[in-house]
Symmetry: C2
Subunit: 548 residues, 2 copies
């Protein structure tokens, strides 16, 4: 193998950290993902920078915090000029290729301002978050008028699955015993088999497309990072046979929640509890329908990854490809009386992360389980280092994980950060929270998880004594919580005061500034003698060529 | 006059707030600036967002804090895609025109990345901080190899002042009794007459150029904001006759400083005191040479403004032109044992600000002296409002001053912020401070000025009991300072946690998100009945057109 490997960066969507057998799930067996962990490093404390798709992914694809890139919510365009992983890779002749979902919204206004044609090569990249879009598919086509017809829709039609919205009618609906079509947007239909054979499902299709890309890349020859980004197990929760009835009520773990949690006096938490999706997932019958489908989707994903990894082995690609597997956030599934994601309990903000590095330097860490505090933004610099990009501390806020992968030591992080902008939400509406203040931020140091809630008291959990996060110490007057809250506020300020936008401080610019500071500015010299003493150079009294 | 006035935005460079007769200087008479104040509002608490040219100006021209636009130091390019005042004005058909200095450095790398030709119309604007460059001249051409030949150099040559560096040899040098050319880069030459007649000085030239623009604009017809941006009284400190000997030692005010200040235990303040420019300006003989020249430069500027205002009256322009007068920062001139600027005592961070608004709504405030806390970033939204731009709270961080100008009430600000990135400096080198941590930030609430110094204890002044800022309470254990420090840390966190980069949250984007949140996402509905109860609409079970 060469010293410059390729990277296959697999991302599931809405996959909890604990729904894998290698992470301890007792009923869900994911042997292919487990095998990846056995030949790589599995991280047990990997956190996303926002517990929702869009901002989490924009952080992943830029290596920067949400507060830095500014795309704080789904559909908030990533501004033109925000540097992406793809931009850095292209500088060294490597490709950043997308197969699947990004949740990117293009900054049409910014492009128009700068005269960038969205259809041009640069415009396409800017619109696709820096990726070369081999296949872009965000899923989520709930009905025809808002349908964003995708290549997967074309594929379904070509296979004979003809409809105005094949994504919805086949891949995300089921048939009842009478052959009636029932949409999986309604949770009670989650346990039906999807109206499409497994081999034509979106998960199988995207796996095939990744193979298509890798085949093509072999002849292209340039090194690459391929982002294989699955839509599932994100809702609509429905999975093709045979996965739809592999799991039932007997495989569902009891919800992580307590009666006391419902009695919280925290206005924002109460607003969450009152939101439709949280009320819905707090019902047992919803969990009993959704969780088996969710587990089936993960099982299906694992089987597809098994197929992909076997194919890569056959092609001789495995020995030269770093494989990373992760998710953009988790799913509450009724834990803590909540549904979907959007807050900071472990099942929402912590994600699975496995990186298998085939290079010999990683021999000593195969099968390692690392409890280091890591962030999703660490992946971009890790991939950049593998591909041979220069480090860019003025842009990249994540930290290169290579020291962990190669067991060489030297990686450290004191805390992880995650942010959420809920201006769009039921919670903001019910609380009448001003748009600017509908914002929360989590800081977690491995023990204490502190959640600053603009306009309300903070939320605080001690994961050492309360690993299930059932006891909110945000208002506790006990010594530890009081001290921790002050310490966390200080740490947040320390983080917030850093340069997050000084992205033009390139080595070239800094060198120019250093030179200017040393030689360019003559301010403060009294006379020639002082100038010569300080600088060691003669002061050149300039002679005009002529004067009137 | 129309309801859509033009704006003449005059900026001096390095002009202290207190070197004007309207601000109380006992020896320096500035009748023309005073007259402007008499027909407008004079602000006595106007603060810049950084006590140094480049970042202060980038804040002025974007209406955004330094932490937001990221151009933290001179020569740090303003990133491509950072929205400027000019961009907003152009949206409503108005012009933003530059005559003079911006201290802008173009983001060549960013432009290259986005395929923007620096010579194209958009490229020029991006390179000129959003302005249409009628005349760009940053001054500061210290020697030939680094000379940026300017139109003013051409002008001097055309007038017969021929040299390899006319800016230096004529406008910024003097002749001694023997006719020897002596550079004003050396402070001992400050009291020589500049080697150019007043009418060909840079200040006079730039005044003429503003008239040229306004003449041209009359036929153009579009409304405009013209930024007339003088290089002086910034160093090199030298002024043409007769201004060079209008002032002498008898007009110099005693330095604002105390022996105790020199004994500070604060490492950063000690490093400032040891910096060359501070040591230099702490010497009486330096002050005695420089301050008379500085005063002469201001007097010359005032006379040129008198000439300009009289011409505008003759042209009938005054009644339709808002005139703002300010500076990008001040000058220590030896106060507090410091020289130049770069820190937060009043003479460095507070600037003169006068706005004369000819509109009838401002009749009631003519001659008003306002002690409201205002920031340089307030000018952009004030001008935008006058020209008829929509408010852009997702981009503009300053606050429209129109309520003060029109006496209508409703303006408020709890504190002003200023920042400084000293990574380039003598202080950073002597302290061995890492580049990322060479950063200070000031927050001032009108009484307490709190300066957070990364890596060191804070500095704190109580301007109510210590208006000269001689007593640093940063380490005081008295009740008030301890409480104030905690309050200021909290206020800084409150400021820092705000959205500073969410600039794509346009009204269009927010409306789309609101619609998506209300109608687009079907997550959490159990069945058709629940959907219909919640939404009041029937759930459309979709019918596929065909299936295999």
């Amino acid at each position: 193998m060469t010293t410059r490997p390729n990277v296959l960066w697999i991302m599931a969507d809405q996959l909890r950290f604990d729904y894998l057998s290698c992470a301890g799930h007792p009923h869900l067996h994911t042997p292919h993902i487990d095998a990846l962990a056995a030949r790589g490093v599995r991280f047990t404390n990997a956190y996303v920078q926002s517990p929702v798709c869009g901002p989490s992914r924009m952080s992943a694809y830029t290596g920067r915090y949400v507060r830095s890139h500014g795309s704080t919510w789904n559909g908030m365009p990533l501004r033109v000029g925000e540097p992406t992983l793809g931009d850095h890779l292209r500088e060294v002749g490597a490709r950043a290729v997308l197969v699947g979902k990004t949740h990117m919204t293009a900054d049409a206004e910014g492009m128009a301002w700068l005269g960038i044609d969205p259809e041009s090569e640069i415009g396409v990249r800017v619109s696709e978050c820096g990726f070369e879009p081999f296949e872009r598919d965000d899923g989520l086509h709930p009905d025809s008028p808002r349908q964003n017809w995708s290549a997967y829709d074309d594929y379904l039609v070509a296979q004979g699955y003809v409809s105005e919205n094949p994504w919805e009618d086949f891949a995300n609906s089921g048939l009842d015993a009478d052959g009636e079509l029932l949409s999986a947007w309604l949770l009670k239909h989650s346990r039906l088999a999807a109206n499409v054979p497994e081999e034509h499902s979106e998960t199988a299709y995207m796996t095939d497309r990744a193979m298509d890309f890798m085949r093509e890349a072999q002849s292209d020859g340039r090194p690459w990072v391929c982002h294989l980004s699955y839509i599932k197990p994100h809702w609509p929760y429905i999975v093709p046979a045979p996965y739809h009835d592999m799991y039932d009520e007997s495989h569902i773990l009891p919800p992580v929640r307590s009666g006391a949690e419902r009695e919280t006096d925290h206005p924002l938490l109460r607003a969450y509890h009152e939101a439709r999706v949280c009320k819905s997932f707090s019902r047992d019958h919803v969990r009993e329908h959704v969780i088996p489908a969710y587990m089936g989707l993960i099982k299906q994903l694992d089987d597809n990854l098994g197929r992909l990894f076997a194919w890569m082995d056959e092609q001789g690609m495995s020995e030269n490809t770093i494989i990373a597997f992760t998710s953009d956030h988790g799913d509450y599934m009724g834990d803590h009386w909540m549904g979907d994601k959007d807050f900071y309990h472990e099942m929402a903000v912590k994600v699975p992360l496995i990186i298998a590095d085939p290079r010999p330097e990683a021999e000593g860490t195969r099968g390692l389980v690392s409890d280091a505090l890591v962030e999703m933004i660490d992946l971009a610099p890790t991939f950049m280092a593998a591909i041979g990009c220069e480090a860019k501390p003025h842009v990249i806020e994540g930290r290169d994980l290579t020291p962990i992968l190669h067991g060489s030591g030297g990686f450290s992080r004191r805390y992880v950060i995650s942010e959420h902008d809920y201006h769009w939400s039921d919670m903001a509406r019910s609380l009448n929270q001003p748009q600017e203040d509908a914002h929360t931020v989590m800081i977690f140091d491995g023990r204490w998880k502190y959640i600053r809630c603009e306009g309300y008291r903070p939320v605080l959990f001690d994961l050492e004594t309360d690993p299930d996060e059932l006891t909110d110490l945000g208002a506790s007057q006990a010594v530890d919580p009081v001290a921790v809250r002050a310490r966390m506020e200080a740490a947040l300020l320390d983080w917030a005061r850093r340069h997050h936008t000084r992205i033009t401080a390139t080595p070239t610019v800094l060198a120019r500034q250093k030179k200017a500071a040393e030689t360019g500015i003559l301010i403060g010299f009294w006379d020639e003698k002082e100038y010569e003493e300080v600088t060691g150079k003669p002061f050149d009294s300039l002679t005009p060529v002529g004067r009137p």
